[in-house]
């Protein structure tokens, strides 16, 4: 059983396009969708309406940079400063390649930073590559959730 992918995206159009891209890449991972940074943190911390979700981190978080309430950089900062979430792979998805965003994302310890390509074919390819790398191939560091049997 593969771990799910957590997709954090507020814009309905981007959401639809990303889901289509993920389904085209034929990943078997389940995709969990949350719509803003606050919800993403609730889900990761298993609190609020996510209090009863099964334990375990997702395989990867696909995180939009601009989000309502708590933005992507703040989510990333909290992930990196929370024990148990630190090793979680986080991929930042964004509309623009503003240098300040890129620099801050790397400073905060992002695993990858992807400017959403305008061309949809490229977008599908980028999403597929990301998914395969982070959700299937990536070897998480020792001690992370991977070594807990996921379907107990």
């Amino acid at each position: 059983m593969l771990k799910p992918i957590l997709l954090v995206e507020d814009n309905p159009n981007d959401l639809e396009l990303t889901l289509i891209a993920l389904s085209k890449s034929q990943l078997a991972n389940q995709v969990i969708i949350v719509r803003d940074g606050a919800e993403a943190l609730d889900s990761l911390h298993r609190r609020g309406e996510y209090a009863s979700r099964p334990a375990g981190n997702p395989a990867v978080v696909l995180l939009d940079l601009k989000l309502p309430k708590v933005d992507g950089l703040e989510v990333l900062r909290e992930v990196r400063s929370t024990d148990g979430l630190k090793p979680l792979p986080v991929v930042m998805l964004t509309s623009s390649k503003e240098e300040q965003d890129l620099v801050r994302s790397y400073e905060l310890g992002v695993n990858a930073y992807v400017v959403k390509p305008v061309d949809f074919t490229e977008f599908v390819r980028a999403i597929a590559d990301l998914g395969i790398f982070w959700a299937v191939l990536n070897e998480p560091p020792p001690g992370s959730q991977r070594y807990v049997k996921p379907n107990k």
Binding site: D10, N13, L17, K66, P117, V118, D119, F120
Partner: protein, 752 residues
């Protein structure tokens, strides 16, 4: 005469009387119908028979289906029945009963629905992916350090490659309305107009007005025969139809003749609006007729808007930088002024700064009959005479000219070092003056044709009777050398000069510190500007990506049976395109907020609220809203700005109570000794107080797009407006129960 410039419209001042908005006819590369709300045909263009087989006089009074066929009518009826805006909206592509294909554009204006049917040679819908290669690439370069001219040149290339026009140029209007070609892309067979000037009279005032409202115009074939509307008068208004925004609007016959003379059979122009003014035009020419379908025009129009935004932000940045420099000089000067006790002696100490401050080559001070000069200035006697003349002719706070001899003939002798003058009295009672001089700046202007000789060209158009208006025919480069003028004074310099005087009058030490603070504040304004262009690159790219993505998916699914999915893709494309346009508009208005000057007066808030409610009537129709509006005190503010702020708050209250029945919206006020506080409270969705600090930022949203529409600029506007009035704005909410937005405005005597 095969390769000549064209200018967008006519060149004679009598053309100001041409009825360009109400020409009564259209260009015949499509047909036009005006429709009643039930889609019955009110008027038809005379050529409707050529396209549909139904003659115009037979079409009038019939339902739409009788003209374009039942299937086509059924297809677009829902689009036409929706709330149409005042600008053409792409309603879809139809095939008429007799097998012709048309793009349908619709807008509601002048009391009727104006439906335009542009002939196209494809049966499928317009492909908005043309937006991509053009704008996508352009946006990538937006934040690079390229200057305005490089961006303009890039825009020309893109527009040329999308449309196929033989020559595309950008020209910029100067303060007097003369055009200057600053960028160009052309086929090598076309003659270049780079660097040339076109006189202001080439574009009549009323055409400029129309260009501000309607951002793109196409003449696809200058040899066309106009198709008149039947009947000629709009039955709703009883007057000729206002076709200002119709894509097929016919243009003046003189202009067509002029284009034919110039061997330019197709032209298109896109307005570049910067800070609410017509900054310039993108102008396209082709020797052969050339059809440009709606989606390509949309791409060009959006590119024009983005170019204008870039120009605005570049100009603002340059302007801010300039003012910052001037102010730094001023601060150091003011510090110097406090060194000794004698004011005049102190001024002498800062003479070098005084020159640098105004980029002048000479300065003079006249105090108590003493004249002190520094740098290259006229002789002392000439300065005295000049001050006498200035004192006699009251010029208000500051006098400035870049051609002194035009107003003060004795200055003809002084052009070498005093062509330009910036002067101001530093005392209203005594004859104390501060003067800056600029030397003559001899320069040449290359005009496309002699602008002074234009009136003398009757009969230049072959076969034209002498009484007929005739456009100028010569566009050969004509060089004019300008004497007796200096470099113009920058608006920032003039404003700073005024401030400098205030500083002198208020003298000096404590003021100097304040000035240093102001310099810091300007630095902050620069930060805000950076945030603004950041948002432009960020938020404008999203809808473009959506358009391209869904258009790709649409093509991919062309053969599939899932019509519902394809419909949704199409809807997403259209909405993304609409959002992109709205974003551009909102950004423009937001940037204007920071700039336009305030004209505060006593405002009756009760009237203001009432007029906002009128404007909201459309949104509140069918809703159950309890308005709870107390008696409101007067406020001291600029009414236009305050109206906008209040409207934003009330519109938000209406929007966020969408799920409530009844919605309760309360407007109240408190009168304090130094300020007046207003509250707009609602029982709507509210927001989480944890994020209140983000609420008033540009493009900050606390809700999902599909729950509450909007571009995220409204509250940023409110804050900007209130803060420009030296007021405060804040918000309170209990999530799920409602929100209260409040603002406080200082009273008149407290606001300074």
């Amino acid at each position: 005469m095969t390769q000549a410039a064209t200018v967008p419209v006519l060149d004679l001042s009598t053309c100001d009387k041409e009825p360009i908005r109400t020409p009564g006819s259209i260009q015949p590369h499509g047909f036009l119908l005006t429709l009643a709300p039930d889609l019955a045909v009110l008027q038809a263009s005379g050529n409707v028979g050529d396209w549909t087989g139904v003659a115009a006089r037979d079409a009038v009074g019939q339902p739409l289906a009788a003209v374009i066929g039942a299937a086509a009518a059924q297809r677009i009826a829902p689009e036409l029945a929706a709330d149409l805006g005042p600008r053409p909206y792409y309603a879809g592509t139809i095939t008429t009963a007799n097998g012709h294909h048309f793009d349908v554009l619709a807008h509601a204006w002048d009391g009727v629905i104006i439906a335009e049917f542009e002939a196209v040679d494809r049966a499928e819908a317009a492909d908005f992916r043309h937006l991509y290669p053009l704008i996508g690439d352009f946006l990538l370069k937006v934040n690079d350090a390229t200057g305005i001219e490089a961006l303009a040149s890039l825009a020309c290339q893109h527009i040329r490659s999308v449309t196929g026009f033989g020559r595309v140029l950008v020209y910029q209007f100067d303060a007097d309305g003369h055009g200057h070609v600053t960028a160009e892309a052309r086929d090598e067979r076309y003659h270049s107009y780079m660097g040339q000037h076109f006189p202001a009279s080439d574009i009549p005032a009323q055409a400029r007005e129309l260009y501000k409202l309607s951002r793109i115009r196409l003449i696809q074939d200058a040899t066309y025969v106009p198709a008149p509307l039947v009947p000629a008068l709009n039955p709703v208004t009883g007057r000729p139809n206002d076709l200002s925004f119709a894509a097929l609007r016919s243009v003046s016959p003189v202009h067509l003749q002029y284009m034919r003379n110039m061997n330019t059979l197709a032209s298109m122009s896109v307005s570049l609006m910067v800070k609410g003014k017509l900054w310039g035009l993108i102008s396209c020419h082709n020797e052969e007729p050339i059809p440009i379908a709606f989606e390509k025009r949309t791409a060009c129009e959006q590119l024009g808007q983005i170019l204008a935004l870039c120009i605005e932000s570049r100009e603002d940045a340059a302007d801010l930088q300039f003012r910052l420099e001037v102010r730094r000089t001023m601060v150091s000067m003011l510090a110097g002024l406090t060194q000794g006790s004698d004011f005049v002696e102190n001024l002498i100490n800062v003479f070098p700064d005084l020159l640098r401050f105004a980029r002048a080559s000479g300065a003079a001070i006249m105090v108590d009959g003493r004249v002190l000069t520094y740098g290259d200035t006229p002789e002392e006697d000439d300065v005295r005479a000049l001050v006498d003349w200035l004192t006699l002719h009251d010029h208000g706070d500051v006098f400035h000219t870049d051609k002194l001899s035009a107003q003060y003939p004795p200055a003809e002798r002084l052009t070498r070092n005093a062509s330009g003058l910036l002067a101001m009295p530093i005392s209203r009672i005594h004859k104390h003056y501060l003067l800056w001089f600029r030397p003559e700046w001899v320069h040449t202007i290359e005009w496309a044709g002699n602008p002074h000789a234009k009136a003398a060209a009757p009969g230049a158009v072959s076969g034209a009777p002498p009484t007929q208006l005739s456009p100028r025919t010569s566009f050969d480069a004509w060089r004019e050398t300008i004497h007796g003028t200096s470099q113009p004074w920058h608006q920032g310099e003039i404003e700073m000069a005024l401030e400098f005087r205030t500083a002198l009058l208020g003298i000096a030490l404590e003021r100097a510190e304040q000035m240093a603070e102001l310099a810091e504040e300007l630095g902050r304004a620069n930060k805000e500007l950076e945030a603004f262009s950041y948002s432009v690159s960020h938020d404008l790219r999203a809808p473009l990506r959506h358009i391209v993505g869904f258009a790709d998916l649409l093509l991919e699914s062309a053969g599939s049976e899932d019509a519902q999915q394809r419909q949704r893709f199409l809807k997403n494309i259209k909405e993304a395109a609409r959002l992109a346009g709205k974003l551009v508009d909102d950004l423009l208005s937001f940037s204007q907020m920071g700039r336009a000057s305030l004209r505060p007066t006593t405002v009756d808030m009760n009237d203001l609220v009432a007029s906002c409610l009128d404007k909201l009537a459309l949104e509140t129709r069918g809703r159950n809203i309890e308005w709870n509006i107390g008696t409101l005190p007067e406020a001291w503010a600029d009414p236009t700005f305050l109206h906008l702020a209040l409207f934003n708050l009330l519109a938000n209250a209406v929007k966020f109570t969408g799920q409530r029945d009844p919605a309760v919206i309360r407007v109240s006020a408190e009168d304090h000794p130094h300020e007046t506080v207003f509250h707009v409270a609602d029982n709507g969705a509210g927001f989480n107080m944890e994020y209140v600090h983000k609420l008033f930022g540009v493009f900050q949203r606390l809700h999902r797009m599909e729950d509450f529409q909007g571009t995220g600029i409204g509250l940023a506007n409110v804050r900007r407006i209130v803060e420009r009035h030296n007021g405060r704005v804040w918000a309170d909410s209990v999530q799920g129960e409602g929100a209260t937005f409040s603002f406080a405005l200082p009273k008149q005597d407290a606001s300074h």
